[in-house]
Symmetry: C2
Subunit: 199 residues, 2 copies
DNA sequence: ACGCGCATGTAAGAAGTTACATGATTTC
DNA sequence: GAAATCATGTAACTTCTTACATGCGCGT
């Protein structure tokens, strides 16, 4: 399971399940997400496995917090995962599946709307990542060559998000262009056919 | 579930579970995959739902085939899914998670190896997609403007694969470059420090 | 009094993977 | 005779989502 390894990565500094959820939102949102209802049982299982230990401590406001920390076994497992080479999982893009079958609706205008809606949503997402990158560049000393390894790697994952989102936006534009040309071509064919009929 | 909608898309022409598995490998591999052990029970459930009907027919070679076809309800469900706008799911990239925590290994050379291994695997993948695109361009009449809608849309999904893989490869190169510069910088810092010590 | 943020979880189910079981026919 | 391809599935398990349950303390 990758989620447990990601949790191991974050737990190099002790944290509660609730903390980890916020950390997810803040830092790895663009390539991973997890619900609290998945995080809590996973932490429990990892403790049973011997990768984590936990202590209960009172909270400043609200109920007691269960704070987890990695054990040496957990640390070893993290290193094993990292040293195992890149793990490329199966990628699934539901919107590509939709486009793939879009001819069933038999209306190129709907496809065009679909692509425009997709482009808009991807553009919003890219703007979010750009804002995060600007924030890093502003705050990090010695950007980009003198960053500490940790920040360098984290920034690199953000760069991949920006590269791929730009590529997808370019693809949206390319596809929208081609759709427009196709539709223009058909309109003129229809007109010509109409003119022939009338003559 | 998206899998059932993808099956509905393919089942505009009747097919068996086994056929569908091969169709997946041939045509949507680059953005979706499914095992037979997932396809079979899903087809059964879809039939119970009223989206599909099935008939058993003898096979030319091997056991009887259960051939499915969409019902009007299934067709309506497909159209509902397609008309619902692009569904962007959560994307998960385990290799980005690995990179994000790679500083735990405390060795930039390992990160460099990791990025090079990733680049090589993505390059192989892109070459595969390029071969498929070349095949389409070779065989399809009137490429690219006069393609029928179905082929146009299918080709568009392939284009997205090519765009994003190129972007990821560019990102790999960018990151590898930056890592090299960082390592060179540190080596010279170490040398200078050594020289000072010796003096 | 009410809602929000903090903090913990459980339960049920959907989605997906891996391993196994079975048996025919065809190709080497 | 062995291996590959055709063809159907089940079982056990992992992973992830959605909905629900509980309760404290703070601000308005």
């Amino acid at each position: 399971m990758s989620l447990s390894h990601i949790l191991l990565g974050f737990l190099r500094e002790p944290a509660s399940g609730y903390d980890l959820k916020r950390t997810f939102e803040r830092s790895v949102r663009h390539f991973w997400s997890a619900e609290l209802s998945q995080i809590y049982p996973t932490l429990k299982r990892m403790e049973a496995e011997g990768w984590l230990s936990s202590t209960t401590e009172p909270s400043a406001r609200g109920p007691d917090r269960r704070v987890y920390a990695t054990t040496p076994a957990g640390c070893a497992e993290l290193e094993r995962w990292l040293a195992g080479g890149p793990s490329l999982g199966t990628e699934r893009f539901a919107y590509l599946a939709q486009l793939f079958f879009m001819d069933a609706l038999d209306d190129p205008a709907v496809t065009l709307d679909f692509m425009r809606a997709l482009r808009d949503r991807l553009a919003v997402w890219r703007a979010e990542l750009e804002a995060i990158e600007a924030e890093i560049e502003r705050r990090a000393p010695g950007f980009p060559d003198q960053l500490p390894d940790r920040v360098f790697n984290q920034h690199a994952t953000l760069r991949m998000g920006l590269h791929t989102l730009s590529a997808r936006l370019a693809w949206c534009d390319e596809t929208i262009d081609r759709l427009n040309r196709r539709m223009a071509g058909r309109a003129s064919v229809r007109e010509t056919a109409g003119a022939v009929k009338e003559a």
